[in-house]
Symmetry: C2
Subunit: 498 residues, 2 copies
Amino acid sequence: MSRHEQSITSRETDYSEWYLDVLKAGQLFDYSPVKGCMVIRPHGFAIWEAMKDDLDRRFKETGHVNAYFPLLIPMSFLSKEAEHVEGFAKECAVVTHHRLRACEIDGKPGVEPDPTSKLEEPLVLRPTSETIIWNMYRDWISGHRDLPILINQWANVVRWEMKTRPFLRTTEFLWQEGHTAHATQDEAVEETVKMLGVYADFAEEIMAIPVVKGVKTANERFAGALDTYCIEAMMQNGWALQAGTSHFLGQNFAKAFDVTFQDADGERKHVWATSWGVSTRLVGAVIMAHSDDTGLVLPPKLAPIQVVITPIWKGEAQRDELLDYAYGVRDELKAVGIRVQVDTRDNMKPGAKYFEWERKGVPLRLEVGPRDMQKESVFAARRIGGKKFPIPVAGVAARVQEVLAEIQQEMLDKALAFRQERTYRCDSYDEFQGLLESQGGWYLVPWCDDSEQEDIIKAETRATVRCYPLEGQEEIEGKVCFKTGKPATHMAIFARSY
Amino acid sequence: MSRHEQSITSRETDYSEWYLDVLKAGQLFDYSPVKGCMVIRPHGFAIWEAMKDDLDRRFKETGHVNAYFPLLIPMSFLSKEAEHVEGFAKECAVVTHHRLRACEIDGKPGVEPDPTSKLEEPLVLRPTSETIIWNMYRDWISGHRDLPILINQWANVVRWEMKTRPFLRTTEFLWQEGHTAHATQDEAVEETVKMLGVYADFAEEIMAIPVVKGVKTANERFAGALDTYCIEAMMQNGWALQAGTSHFLGQNFAKAFDVTFQDADGERKHVWATSWGVSTRLVGAVIMAHSDDTGLVLPPKLAPIQVVITPIWKGEAQRDELLDYAYGVRDELKAVGIRVQVDTRDNMKPGAKYFEWERKGVPLRLEVGPRDMQKESVFAARRIGGKKFPIPVAGVAARVQEVLAEIQQEMLDKALAFRQERTYRCDSYDEFQGLLESQGGWYLVPWCDDSEQEDIIKAETRATVRCYPLEGQEEIEGKVCFKTGKPATHMAIFARSY
C-alpha cells in the first residue's frame, strides 16, 4: 500500500493507534528528526489557525492586547519562585553556547559547540513565561493608573517531555499565554474566571466539544498558582483531556519579582496576577472527540475545507460543462464565506476522491454528475452520515450554510450525549475501581480533598481528580468521601486522562 | 522627568539616539534581561500584527499555505550544505542539556544544568529553517504530482548577533519564511521573482515605503542560494535597509538532503527550491522611514489606532454631553472599520494628550470642544502636519477615510521624493568617496561585479553594493566600472546600510 492508502486501525482495536492513523491519513502532522518535536503539516496547521483567529478575536473583545516576550530566559529567573522552579526545572531545554565551530566527526567535516562561546549564565527556552514577563512588569507598573495590564502572547514553548504524543504532548508546542496584572485580588479572580468562560464558550461553539468547568486539586495545580481553573473534555475512549487552564497566581510572582504599585490610598502594594493558556493540544482534542474509523471528522467551524465539490464526468465535452457548473456553485458558496474547493483531478475515480476527502474530514461533499446538472441541483453527502440528499442550485449558498450549522450542532449534541452517558455517580471506592476497569468513563464522587489519598487512588487505578466542577457543589452537603468515609468537602470528577 | 516625558533627541543631533528615543517614547519595545533580545510591547506588536495579516493574505492569494516546523534542529543538519553552515555556524544558539537541578549559588538555592541530562547530539535553535524543512520534503515528495509545495511559516528564529539594535537586528526575531519546492528551474525562478513582487507591493501600499527591487552580489547573497533578490529602502539618514529577500536556491538543498522526484518522463530528478522572508525588522524600517523629531509617525494602514478623538470639556455636565457626542462620531467611524479611540481621561490637559498621541504616531486627531459640537463638526489635526480643518459630522466616516488615504499617499510620495533627491549618479570613485562622506545617500554607478574590489570599497567607505536594480540595467552598455575602469557589467547601488 502506498502511504496515501494505509488503513486506519479501528478505535475498538487500539485507540492510541487509531489516533495516530487518523493524524497520518489526514496529513495533519509528521514526526521530526528531533525526538518529541513534531511537524504540523498544512492541513493540521490550518485547524490551529482557525482556532487562533477565533480565540484572538475573543481575547481582544475582552480587552486584551498581544505582545511578544523573549524565548530565552536567564536560568536564575526560574528559581525566583520556589514552586515554579520545582514544577519546571526537570523539563527545561538549556542553551549553553552561542556558536558552532568546524571539526571532524568520524573523519568527515562536521560542527561542534565552540567552547569559547560558552555563556556565563545558561539560558532556558521558556516552558512558560511568567518569570520573564513579571520581570518586565516591574518596570511598567508604578501607580494604580498603570493597572490592569491585560496582555496575551502567541508563542512556542519547550517542555522536555519523556513521553510524547502528537498534538497532545510534544516537546515544543504552540500556545497562547495570557498574563494579567491587577490592583486587587477580586479583580484578578474575576479575570481568571472570565477567561475560563471564554475558553469554555470557544470549546462548545467552535470545537463542538462540551466541557466541564472546574478547579484543580493542589496535586494538579500549576506550579506557582493559588488556584488553577480548567476545562475538561471527554474523549471517545472515556478519558479526560484538560483543554485549557486559567490560573489565579495571587501575589506570588509579584513578590518574587518585586512588582508593586502605589495605590489610590498612597500605599505601596504587591500586584495580583493571573495567567491562562490553551495550546495546539486543542487540535488533538478535536480529533479525538469527533473522528471515526474512516478518518478525520472536523466541525465545520474549524474545517480548513468545509465543502468539497466533486464533479463526475465522462469524456472531455462533459468535463468542461460539468466543471463550469461546479465552479458556478463554488462561486456562490465562496461569496458567502464558505471555504470550498472543487476536485478537478482527472486521474482519480470518484470513490478514491470521496475516500480521500473523508479522511481529511471535510464536513460536506457535493457530488455533481450529468443528472444533477440536468435537475439543477447537487447531491449532498455529510461526513457525519445520514442519507444523501439533493440541494437545488437556486439558493444553494443559504442551504449549505444551514446544513453546515446543523452538522456543527449535531456534533456538539452527540459529544454531549456521549459524555452524559459515560459520566457515572458512585459512592464507594470498590465499586468505582470495578466500574472504571470495566467501562471507563468519568466518576462524579463525594470527596475529602486529600492529596495523599489522591496519590493512592492514582497508583491503584491510574485515575486522578480532573476537577471540582464549578456547578453542583451544593449537593456535597452531608455526604461522606467515597474513599475515606470522612465528611466530604467537594464533588470531584475522577477519570483517567491525557 | 518621568519616563513618559523623556525628550526625543533630534535626527540631526544623533540619528541612532533619535531612533531609540522614538521607540521608547512610543512604547514600542523594551530591553530584555537577555542581551540582544527585546520585548515587543503591545503598541509595537500591533504594528507587526497588521503587517502579518496583510502579508498572510497576499501569500494565500498567491497559493501558499502555512505550516509549522520545529524550533530545534539537529546540529549535524547545519553542515549538510557547505555554504549554509559557513554562513550560520557563528550565530547559532546551542541547546546541550534538557534538565536543571537544584544547587547552591553564593550560598543561596539556585539551579544549574543537570550533567546527567546532556544531549547526545546538541540541538541548535533555528537561525532559518531550510535544513529541517528539506529534510521533511524528502519524505513528502516522490512524484511530479507532489509538486509544487508552496509552504510558509510564521516563526521566531535566533541568530546570535554581537551588535544589536531594536527591531533592526536582534538575537531573536519574528519572521515568516516561505519554502517552496518545484519541478523545474524556471518555475522556481518565477516563484522567487513573484514573491519579491509581493514584498515590494506590500512595502509601497501598506508601509508607504518605496523600494528598489534588485539582485545581491555574491558577497551579500544568502548562504546556500544561487541568487538572492531583495528590496532595498532608504532611511531618513540616507542609509539603505534591506527590507526583504527572496532566494533562488537551485538544487543545493535538494542535493544536500537527497530530495528527488520522478518526473512525467519517468526520470528521477532533484527538486528546485526557493525561500523568502521578511521579519520584525520591517517595524524598524517603517519607523526610521517616516517618524520625526516629535516621535512616531505611522502610515494609516499600519497604525494600531488610526484616529483618536479628544473631547475637551469644562465641568461635569459638559463632559457627559461632549462624551456622548464623541462616542457618536466614534461609532460612525468604527462602523466602516476605522480603528478609533476616544481619550476620556480627565486627569490630563489637552496639550498633554495631544503630545502623547503624537508620540504614539496616531495619524489623525479629532478635537471636539463645545463649539465644534455646536457647529456639528470635529476639528481635525493630521500627524504629518498641514493646517487643522473642520470635518462636518454628517458624512464624517467617508471624509475620514478620504483623509487617511490622503495621508497614506502623501507619506509614500514624500518618501519617494526623499529617495530620488538622495540617489546620485557618479562615474568616479574619488568623487563617490567625497560625496558619500559629505552628503550620504545612494550612488547608482557602473560596476564590474568584483568581490575583492567590493571588499576594498567597504573597508574604505563602509558602503556596499545594496543591489543590482532589476530595472535600468540596459544603460550599462559601453560604460566602464567607476572603481577599476574595466568594462562595467552592472549598474549597482552603493550605500551604507543597516
